[in-house]
């Protein structure tokens, strides 16, 4: 495995979340979250629907600010700073692709925003095996294909940290396996990967460390394989830690 990316520029910690509270309309979503993600680590954030997983990812991705507490990415305070955002790749729950542009046009457009050469798009189409559908418009792609293109878009600028919000939702077995294979290869390159899921099997397939978000709070980070379905189901059923 290669050395963790971003470690040289920001220390071993890719993400450091301290005492983060996030409220919307005075309704607390996160109630004091602490989390450390080491550079190069793959972390799964598990939790039932509505537990605040997406909110946590949006905060880490600098798309929202915490109501209280602080977040640092590679040693820098998280915020709308272009240099910091350039180090983030995001696969959001919604597709960020333009439906009426082709796969190649979507990738070229985003590559242009990041000032990347056209060759980078060609390389990405090959790397992610998307070349056969490069000329298809995004709106005609299957959910699995869209997710692969979304992943390619998020990886175009070679970010140090990849954030994925429930990337397996709506994928069939084949598409899920393909996504896992791509992510496993990618994680092997030393990139920090954080993703949300409510399925323990998805976390284990990626060999990810795990933490569970319930009632606005996180458990400690657990090693891969240290959590079982029965314990997780009991937590989900209880609705709090």
């Amino acid at each position: 495995m290669s050395a963790p990316r971003g470690a040289a520029t920001g220390g071993a910690r890719a993400v450091d979340v301290r005492g983060v509270v996030k409220s919307y309309d005075h309704r607390p979503i996160l109630r004091g979250v602490d989390l450390v993600v080491e550079a190069g680590q793959t972390l799964a954030v598990l939790g039932p629907n509505g537990s605040g997983k997406t909110t946590l990812l949006r905060l880490i991705a600098t798309l929202a600010s915490p109501t209280r507490g602080e977040i640092t990415l590679f040693g820098q305070p998280a915020g709308p700073v272009p240099e910091l955002r350039r180090r983030i790749g995001l696969v959001a729950h919604e597709s960020l692709l333009y439906d009426n542009l082709t796969v190649a046009e979507n990738l070229r457009f985003f590559a242009g925003l990041y000032g990347l050469a056209a060759g980078r798009v060609d390389a990405m189409l090959t790397q992610t095996a998307l070349r056969p559908i490069a000329g298809r418009r995004a709106r005609v792609l299957s959910r699995g294909q869209r997710q692969q293109v979304n992943l390619a878009r998020a990886l175009l600028h070679d970010p140090d940290i990849l954030i994925l919000d429930e990337p397996y939702t709506g994928l069939d077995v084949t598409a899920a396996e393909r996504l896992t294979a791509t992510l496993r290869t990618d994680a092997g390159r030393g990139r920090t990967v954080i993703f949300t899921t409510h399925d323990l099997a998805e976390a284990e397939a990626l060999g990810a460390s795990m933490t569970v978000l319930l009632g606005g709070r996180l458990t400690e980070v657990m090693r891969p394989g240290s959590l079982d379905d029965a314990r997780l189901a009991a937590w989900f059923h209880q609705g709090r830690l």
Partner: protein, 215 residues
């Protein structure tokens, strides 16, 4: 500048493929001209009818441009591009689409209101271009502000029309003078007002768009 052109090219390519915005704006403009013409096809009413049509077509179209972009704003926020560039690109695309609607609706005004529209078309270009820039600047700013709102289709006219009132009055006044056969020199004050409005709102919107795009 390259980012602005890239963003504009993307918007125009999407519009070319769907023709969603220009078609809806054009259809509304056509219906408004017909209704206003049926009510009073008096040459004196032409300038007001023109600018009422342009203003309402603009509010409809500009709401759609941001509604179509809503899901992609997250990716734009994360991209290392100047927020002012995003504003300039959106405003430019909006202006070009409004311009198309202005050009294609002009013959209908000529047919229903006054033939002077045909004779004075080159002179009318100046207030139409300058008025369009102001409408696009204000519409783009407020379109961005309300993009996440549930009632955005209703909100944009409420926000945009009062702010653009000085621009609309100046544009109607300039158009009236030109259709009355007066020379360009006679509308210097109106053009100055339109120019000042454009500079003011392009600058303000460009500066504020950073806050508009962030949460």
């Amino acid at each position: 500048m390259r980012v602005v052109l890239r963003l504009v090219a993307k918007d125009l390519r999407l519009e070319w493929r769907t023709r969603e915005i220009v078609t809806t704006m054009g259809l509304l403009a056509f219906l408004l001209v017909i209704v206003l013409g049926a009510a009073r096809s008096d040459p004196a009413a032409a300038p007001a009818a023109m600018w009422v049509t342009y203003a309402f077509a603009a509010t409809l179209g500009f709401t759609r441009t941001f509604a179509l972009e809503r899901d992609h704003l997250t990716a734009l926020r994360l991209a290392p591009v100047d927020r002012g560039s995003v504003f300039l690109a959106k405003a430019l695309a909006n202006w070009l689409m409004l311009l198309i609607v202005q050009v294609i609706s002009l013959p209908v005004f000529g047919a229903l209101f006054t033939e002077a529209v045909w004779d004075r078309a080159p002179s009318l270009a100046m207030p139409m271009l300058m008025g369009g820039i102001g409408l696009a600047a204000v519409g783009t700013l407020f379109g961005g502000v309300i993009v996440q709102a549930r009632l955005r289709e209703a909100l944009l006219p409420i926000l945009m029309l009062p702010v653009t009132l000085p621009l609309l009055i100046a544009a109607v006044s300039a158009t009236t003078a030109l259709l009355d056969g007066r020379p360009m020199a006679a509308i210097g004050a109106q053009l100055q007002l339109l120019g000042a409005f454009d500079i003011l709102f392009v600058t303000i919107s460009w500066l504020l768009f950073d806050f508009v795009l962030e949460e």
